[in-house]
């Protein structure tokens, strides 16, 4: 559970007044979010962890510049995104490319795949390890701009406005990218889901 906003503002005030130790408590609900944000950008566990540490240290050092206009979670996510982009630029060296310059692609690619058997897949299938693994791979393989929006919105559960603010894009762009990300994932996972669907019962079989 995340601390309530009022609670959080109180915590921040106390930290700034000298109770530094409380920063541990402030950051704890967001540790996972910071790591996943970094991972969605750098796509490497070690880099993501190092980056997450840097982002948290940076948030600690600059806490006094947090003015409370945005939510603390959005502010922190912005720091994490900047750290991730910095690492990406370093890795790419001179061949730097802006994340937003990627081509958005053709509309036709974003058509979902039909799966008429889905309703027959038992809920337990969602518990399967292999399905989770397939989803991880599919998310990792999404184009960067889609993966980042998807991570913030569906994994970290920021709302559309917060996602737009953190990434510095419009809410319209968030909606389009999110839609495409979800459709691409649906498409990627359908063949996998089909193998899990039990064989269709015949008409006679059902009548029994």
């Amino acid at each position: 559970m995340q601390a309530s906003a009022a609670n959080e503002i109180g915590l921040i005030a106390r930290i700034l007044a000298g109770e530094k130790e409380l920063f541990h408590e402030l950051i704890r609900p967001y540790e996972r979010m910071v790591y996943l944000t970094l991972f969605s950008i750098v796509k490497n566990e070690t880099e993501a962890e190092d980056g997450a540490q840097e982002a948290v240290i940076s948030a600690y050092r600059h806490l006094s510049s947090f003015r409370g206009e945005a939510k603390f979670s959005t502010w922190l996510t912005t720091i994490a995104i900047n750290e991730g982009r910095k690492r990406l630029r370093k890795a790419k060296g001179a061949a730097e490319e802006s994340i937003d310059e990627q081509i958005e692609g053709q509309e036709g690619e974003y058509t979902p795949a039909p799966l008429t058997d889905w309703r027959e897949i038992p809920l337990e299938a969602l518990e399967r390890k292999e399905l989770r693994e397939a989803l991880r791979v599919a998310v990792a393989e999404l184009p960067d701009i889609y993966r980042q929006v998807f991570t913030l919105r569906d994994l970290e559960e920021l709302n559309i406005e917060e996602t737009a603010e953190a990434l510095g894009i419009t809410t319209g762009a968030v909606k389009v990218r999110l839609h495409r990300a979800r459709i691409l994932l649906q498409k990627r996972l359908v063949p996998f889901l089909k193998t899990m669907a039990p064989a269709r019962r015949s008409f006679f079989g059902r009548a029994r």
Binding site: K20, E21, F23, H24, I27, R28, E31, R32, Y35, L36, F39, E45, E49, A52, Q53, V56, I57, Y60, R61, T111, P112, A113, P114, L115, T116, D117, W118, R119, L126, L131, R132, L135, R136, V139, F150, D154, L155, E157, I160, K175, L178, H179, R182, I183, L185, Q186, L189, V190, L193
Partner: protein, 86 residues
């Protein structure tokens, strides 16, 4: 107006997020009642989102939290020393 499947797909993400207007929502729902394909697409997409939000799907490296707080403690210590010097 009767919606075709393609039109439903275009709005599936917004439908899931509950951000389509009431009229469109009603039209989509009417379509879903008789279209097994779209209903299955909606279900599968929703289930992917459920799976995404499941903490077991995207796990953190073992010891991540401990290392993070250790690093933070060191940072606090060194910033303390710095402020003492001032």
């Amino acid at each position: 107006m009767k919606l075709d499947c393609k039109h439903v797909w275009e709005h599936i993400s917004e439908y899931i997020d509950n951000s389509v207007d009431a009229k469109l929502r009603e039209e989509i729902e009417r379509h879903l009642e008789h279209c097994e394909i779209c209903a299955a697409i909606l279900d599968s997409t929703r289930n992917i989102l459920v799976l995404t939000a499941d903490d077991r799907t995207f796990e953190l490296p073992i010891g991540y939290s401990e290392r993070l707080h250790e690093r933070l403690a060191k940072e606090m210590e060194s910033s303390e020393k710095d402020s003492e010097k001032e």
